[in-house]
Symmetry: C2
Subunit: 101 residues, 2 copies
DNA sequence: CTTTAATTTCGGAATTTCCCGAAATACCGA
DNA sequence: TCGGTATTTCGGGAAATTCCGAAATTAAAG
């Protein structure tokens, strides 16, 4: 968990929002898109793409950046990739920030 | 307190370090440079410049960026500008991060 | 096997950030 | 007022980031 990488990841409005959306998917995504959220898989890339209003490639880039620094995790199921928050890592991050600053 | 501005400010190694150095100046700056730290003024730009190993102009830029997003505050005394942490703002930031993520 | 949908990878133009040196400004002391 | 030190402002080249579209990849479905 590189503190500086995390801050770079979070210094972009869309990426911050993705993390917030994934905290409460039910609040931020249409119900019919959330069948797999209930299975604890997360939300798939195309749903996040729609919500973000960016191109699929950019959204995919952002998601893998967030994943690289540990904030979210991916599960591939068939042709879909589901992303959800890594709550453990986020808790660790909060503690790290508390300690460092 | 713009969360995104704060993250941009913190996505640079030197600026992170400045915040950490200012948390415990006695630990990070030579004793003879700290007369004014005891007066609760903070640490002056040239001391921070030496420690950072960057040019005075860059250091000055960084300090005013950190100030703009509220993380530190400046006191001008004669020809010196002293910077110290804004502990209140940093506490607020921690809470904000806790709440948002 | 072919088509179609979901996602990722890659190349690149536009924009922003990094960090410097030169110049300007602020302030003090002689 | 003049010279010297501390700091800030400004212009800009180099490097990184933003975000796209095209192409490649993966996988389901017909």
């Amino acid at each position: 968990m590189e503190l500086i990488m995390v801050f770079k990841a979070l210094s972009n409005e869309t990426r911050i929002n993705i993390l917030i959306w994934l905290k409460q998917p039910r609040l931020h995504f249409p119900a019919e898109e959330l069948q797999d959220y209930d299975a604890n898989l997360g939300v798939c890339v195309s749903d996040i793409t729609k919500k973000a209003g960016l191109s699929p490639s950019t959204t995919s880039d952002y998601l893998s950046l967030l994943q690289k620094c540990g904030l979210i995790e991916a599960t591939r199921v068939g042709q879909w990739t589901y992303y959800k928050r890594n709550e453990g890592a986020i808790k660790t991050l909060n503690k790290l920030i508390q300690k460092a600053f």
